[in-house]
């Protein structure tokens, strides 16, 4: 009896140890590239190109100071911030009421409309890149931030509608109906009863729309100029001459990624809920 117990305990231990070993190996695989980049950003120019590479050194924030003081970086950061915020705001304001209507009301053309939204999300956006560029140029919009905001809004709208519709459908209809009985108008019931309850959905939709706008490259590359370009466009312009200043380049990599990472961690629970509900439940 006891020998068997010891054997079982040992095999359980071996199992746990091998699981942790696998997890640690994955952790190294998935995090090492980012950590190494962070490391490079904290090195001086001499240390960056030291051979063999340095694994221990006194970190310096010089690269961050340089990068944050560069006009091009500052303006790209502000452009990214404004464009993302505007695109998120626009798609939430437009998309949430539509999602509510899709979830709660039966109206003519509901299914085809919703279907076409889904299909639009699945089409490769590069298909509208060329004509958007042509049309925006002819309208005189191609040089403005607004053109990119509009493009991003069309990407995130289907996503917002899709996610929020799922969250609205999970709420029992009786909630609003009892608010109506108590004399609330439809708008008041929506604002005071429904919206607070779907906050997790709103957070998830906001993050995903934000990620879309903040991370996009190709539309910003085509639709912006030097004055309106976003961070990814600036970063891509570095890739042409990789030989130059790795310290400043990696520092800006970290500065681009950090806000999104922090934001996503803060709301990770909602993000996961949104991703899986938006993807699986429809």
């Amino acid at each position: 009896m006891s020998a068997m117990g010891v054997g079982r305990r040992r095999s359980k231990l071996i199992f746990a140890v091998s699981i942790y070993a696998a997890l640690l190996a994955l952790l190294v695989l998935f995090l090492f590239p980012l950590l190494w980049i962070v490391g490079l950003s904290l090195k001086t120019r001499m240390q960056v190109f030291a051979s063999p590479p340095l694994f221990l050194w006194v970190p310096t924030l010089q690269n961050y100071a340089t990068m944050l003081g560069t006009g091009a970086f500052q303006s790209a950061f502000i452009n990214s911030l404004l464009i993302s915020a505007e695109a998120v705001l626009l798609s939430i304001c437009i998309g949430v009421p539509a999602a509510y209507a899709f979830a709660r009301f039966h109206f003519r053309g509901r299914s085809p409309l919703f279907m076409s939204l889904l299909v639009m999300r699945m089409l490769p956006p590069i298909a509208v890149l060329v004509p958007m560029y042509v049309l925006f140029s002819k309208l005189g919009l191609a040089q403005t931030r607004f053109s990119v905001v509009l493009a991003y809004t069309t990407f995130s709208l289907p996503l917002v509608v899709w996610i929020m519709r799922g969250f609205f459908e999970e709420l029992p209809r009786e909630l609003e109906e009892s608010a109506w009985v108590d004399g609330a108008s439809r708008f008041a019931a929506f604002r005071l009863v429904v919206l607070p309850l779907v906050r997790p959905g709103l957070v998830a939709a906001t993050i995903l729309a934000l990620l879309l706008a903040w991370n996009d490259f190709i539309f910003a590359a085509v639709l912006t100029t030097d004055a309106t370009r976003t961070l990814p466009v600036l970063m891509a312009s570095f890739s042409g001459d990789v030989g130059v200043d790795w310290g400043a380049m990696t520092a800006s990599c970290v500065l681009v990624v950090l806000p999104v990472l922090l934001f996503s961690f803060a709301a990770q629970r909602h993000l996961v809920a949104g991703l899986s509900s938006g993807a699986v439940k429809g």
Binding site: L23, V128, V130, S239, M249, V257, L275
Partner: protein, 322 residues
């Protein structure tokens, strides 16, 4: 929250409107005042129109214009409708261009291999993360980091890591491999960077699926004497199918349009080894500045994506209603 009902509701959304009738109950809001009454009646219209209009004007209209462009001999200095009608000439030019055909097969192969790797790896990691061990939440958080990174930045990071002169990966290997300078190695590197970045997405979906699986079938199988492998193969995997199919669909959509990692790491080279369709389209439109050819290429992409999606939707619909 059981998975089969989720799957059914997904299928319902994408394949039919059979249950619309259930939602057709008239809403009976006791509107107060004329404004509220008018607002009530117009609510659906007010709520849906902005979305429909935005999508139509900013997405649908360009799409239609792109179809028009693809059938024209059009250049940027002409007026909007000033081109000469060219019929299918642009499409014929594409389909006889060996670069385009190469790009097409490359993209299909690239999509298949990266998506398959992401699914296998993502499911494997999700199975590990589903175990209830100490510190597992730390791993659950840490392992999704690559997904959050801006794709351009992630690609730039990999380019630095793979640098033949100062890159740390060549240092670890101990030889000067020029990763992005040789056709097959470059293709591998580009695909690897993408798998690295996007596997966490599959992990998240698969983990959400695993967390919501019912316990009973698992326990029943264990009582019947099935070992861990049999339980996984005959119980877990079939129950996970809706989640995996959705992950497959979404990842295939996004790998098919892959652009950022190639643009930064190789620009389509060396010798067109990484010239994916979106890169081909981009170069045709904005490097050679042949907007009509670019429009035709993007419509080929679009049709492939559309056919694949509809096929998938039909598949998922049949599976779940059968």
């Amino acid at each position: 929250m059981n998975p089969s009902s989720k799957a059914v509701s997904y299928a319902r959304v994408v394949s039919s409107s059979a249950t619309d009738a259930l939602d057709a109950r008239p809403s009976t809001a006791p509107a107060t005042g004329w404004f509220a009454r008018v607002f009530d009646r117009a609510f659906v219209w007010l709520a849906v129109t902005p979305t429909a209009l935005t999508m139509l004007l900013v997405f649908g209209l360009p799409l239609a214009f792109s179809l028009y462009l693809s059938m024209e001999g059009w250049s940027a200095d002409e007026t909007l409708f000033g081109g000469k009608f060219a019929g299918t000439a642009n499409y014929e030019a594409l389909l006889t261009d060996p670069d385009f055909i190469g790009s097409l097969t490359l993209t299909l192969g690239y999509t298949a291999v990266t998506v398959l790797s992401e699914l296998l790896l993502g499911l494997g990691i999700a199975l590990l993360l589903n175990l209830d061990l100490p510190f597992i939440t730390f791993f659950r958080t840490a392992l999704i980091v690559p997904m959050m990174m801006t794709p351009i930045v992630a690609a730039l990071c990999w380019k630095l890591l793979l640098d033949p002169d100062h890159g740390v990966i060549d240092y670890f290997i101990g030889s000067n491999i020029i990763w992005l300078g040789r056709p097959w190695l470059a293709l591998f590197a580009v695909g690897f960077a993408s798998v690295w970045q996007n596997t966490p997405f599959v992990t998240i979906l698969a983990l959400a699926g695993l967390r919501s699986l019912p316990h009973e079938p698992m326990e029943a199988a264990a009582i019947d004497g099935a070992n861990a492998l049999q339980r996984f193969w005959h119980v877990t995997l079939p129950l996970m199918r809706p989640y995996l199919l959705v992950a497959l669909l979404l990842r295939a959509i996004f790998e098919f349009r892959a652009f950022d990692n190639v643009y930064v790491m190789t620009g389509g080279g060396p010798a067109n080894a990484t010239l994916l369709l979106s890169v081909y389209t981009y170069q045709a439109s904005f490097v050679q500045f042949d907007l009509s050819l670019g429009a035709a290429a993007s419509w080929v992409m679009l049709l492939i994506a559309l056919v694949a999606c509809l096929g998938f939707v039909a598949l998922i619909g049949r599976r779940t209603t059968a």
